[in-house]
Subunit: 147 residues, 2 copies
Amino acid sequence: MENIFTHEYFMKKALIEAQDAFDKGEIPVGALVVVDNRVIAKSHNLTELLVDVTAHAEMQAITAAANFIGGKYLTGCTLYVTLEPCQMCAGALYWSQISTVVFGAEDTHRGYRIMGGKLHPKTEVVTGIMAEECGQLVKDFFKKRRK
Amino acid sequence: MENIFTHEYFMKKALIEAQDAFDKGEIPVGALVVVDNRVIAKSHNLTELLVDVTAHAEMQAITAAANFIGGKYLTGCTLYVTLEPCQMCAGALYWSQISTVVFGAEDTHRGYRIMGGKLHPKTEVVTGIMAEECGQLVKDFFKKRRK
């Protein structure tokens, strides 16, 4: 039987979160935490609404996942996020020792790779899943905001 | 008249926060945000109590200060923290565009400078304020924990 739980399957759900952020006037980034094909946390960027630079999608997903698990380490978990994490979120993911990070579009301006941040050496990274759709939503957002 | 509002004056208050963390069994790091010599946020590390790797002293101080100000940018603010920020906290401070970061002890293992993180180019950094006292508290903590 075909495995429906592909990276694309979960990234589509993260994109729905990103669209929610878009609709609220937030930079459209969505995130999920998944364990054994089960979504245990979902979130989207809320920096404007919460008036808080720390309210990135990934940060909320990490906190919510740890709350669900009842432990602060996310070993065995996968984070899906529509945009490459920034150094803050990479730092939080580092501390969480999360097993896998899957992201969609790269962030060539403020992504952790260009900013010099690091994920945990044990964390596997998968890039470019639905990159075009994930990136287009961000482009649409900034195009709309400039008008 | 002598200015009592020195870096040491505020770092002592941050150390009281760090001691609070120590007393709760948390890695002892304390932080303050100061504007015009007024403390608008104070916090200490609560990662164990909140079961959340994102609950570093600086993260809480940034959120609390933004809440106090009613805006997410901390321009004009100074963060005092007893230990050099990690890459997550450096990333949050970067987004906040905070004017000044003053830290006590350096963190040669997980500090943002060794990990490759960046503060905002507009942020002034002052290091080594009460470094010995700030560092000693962390050493005492790990010594106690190993017992």
